[in-house]
Symmetry: C2
Subunit: 266 residues, 2 copies
């Protein structure tokens, strides 16, 4: 199960501590020592000691009556601090809620991390049916509007990696022809936005635009996500305008200025 590529340079017991913390986080309900130990493949004593540490720090709380464990307040606070420190999050907060209020659809912010596009924030739309993307999940680059925006606007050579793996069909509407896909990226670059109806999930569409930093490089995307009924292949003028406004506002917050940044070279 574990490859012996040692020389991690990392601290083993800390790894275990985070394994425990994340296992507690992953559990919907409060969770007990034995259960955690079984799940993590270690002994009760070890888990217990780590829980003591995490509790002392406030990252984990113990229910006094059931003596089971759950996430503590400090876990929440560190997240709040992180939200303030992660530029793309603090820069997008206002624009995202304004966009959601204006359009009423779910708004999704993602960030490019290495070669992956990770969902950072999802704010659900006004509809009773909640359509969204789980925070922390990874967006398929060739099958989502956000992914295509990333491929179209990032200066990193993302496309090569995608083409090497091949344009695997996810639904029957996924673009699998490299030439057609290249045209799609050109369209995205020309318009500044792009959609992806049914390409990753049937019945769902997204309209995405880039988030750029002060050098003009792509750091993330902002998108509205909803059913194909509400977001058409050719989205409404209002939707496009509102999205681009939000996209520019966030990029502006990050120091991007389309006046001073020179033309984009993909």
């Amino acid at each position: 199960m574990d490859i012996k590529t040692r020389s991690d340079g990392s601290v083993k017991s800390v790894q275990l501590a985070f394994d425990v913390l994340e296992a507690v986080a992953a559990s919907q309900e409060e969770v007990g020592v034995s259960e955690l130990a079984a799940h993590l493949g270690t002994t009760k004593g070890t888990v217990f000691r780590h829980l003591q540490t995490l509790m002392e720090r406030g990252y984990v709380d113990q229910n006094q009556t059931s003596s089971r464990y759950k996430l503590g307040m400090r876990s929440y606070f560190i997240g709040q601090t992180a939200a303030a420190r992660i530029e793309i999050l603090s820069a997008s907060t206002e624009a995202v809620s304004a966009l959601r209020d204006e359009i009423g659809e779910t708004v999704v912010v993602s960030a490019l991390r290495g070669t992956s596009l990770i969902v950072l924030r999802t704010v659900f739309g006004k509809s009773t049916l909640e359509i969204g993307v789980r925070e922390g999940s990874e967006l398929v680059l060739h099958g989502t509007a956000q992914g295509k925006i990333a491929l179209a606007f990032s200066r990193k050579p993302l496309l090569q990696g995608v083409l090497r793996k091949g344009l695997e069909p996810i639904t029957e509407h996924t673009i699998t022809d490299p030439a057609a896909f290249d045209k799609e990226l050109q369209l995205a670059r020309a318009q500044g936005y792009v959609t992806a109806a049914n390409q990753e999930t049937f019945g769902i569409n997204a309209l995405a635009a880039p988030i750029l930093d002060q050098t003009g490089d792509l750091v993330g995307t902002i998108a509205i996500v909803g059913s194909v009924q509400n977001i058409k292949h050719d989205p409404s003028h209002k939707q496009v305008e509102a999205l681009l406004k939000a996209s520019l506002r966030i990029s502006w917050n990050l120091g991007y200025d389309k006046m001073t940044v020179s033309g984009r070279q993909p």
Copy 2:
């Protein structure tokens, strides 16, 4: 500096790892290894190794060009998960934003943890001047509206501890006479809300109400906070109504039902 009351039962290297993580979080700017080592009173090598671990896990990110460190996305995600798991937070989200939108003042949610009242969430009001309370900070029980609510509604014997320490004056409006203070708590119980104009900070007032769980015990408070101009000693009917509505809705979410829960015994 550190007392030798060993036999912690906690894991030392994990403590250090969290020291590092929290030090990174505490720094507004990105921070370097040497700086952290100096701050924590340890060596660069040790800090470096812990940063490797935290980075591998995604709790910390390294800026590739400056090779300095900051909080990573995983820190944010664990906080999001915690927010969903901490009952009082998930139960209050909607009611808090509704209250803020209706009244326009800053809304503050706090939770009773042991014998301390901790600020969990602050949502700023509509005014350009942001008046709020730092998340994670502790509210003075005898000098804030929230503290008085906690003392009035909690079944824990909080008051004894407060009186033992004495009603230390914080401003000249802080209530310091035990008899007068007791009357104030009776008022809070009778009304279901209470204010505390100028009692902790000059020019600031708060209007607070209890958050109760299914047993009818106090688990936290909700309050609107603002300048004494906007929140009077005798608050407007609208403010009181809106606050009590939010307070009840949150308590309801936590399983409290004023119909089925028997009378309160302080």
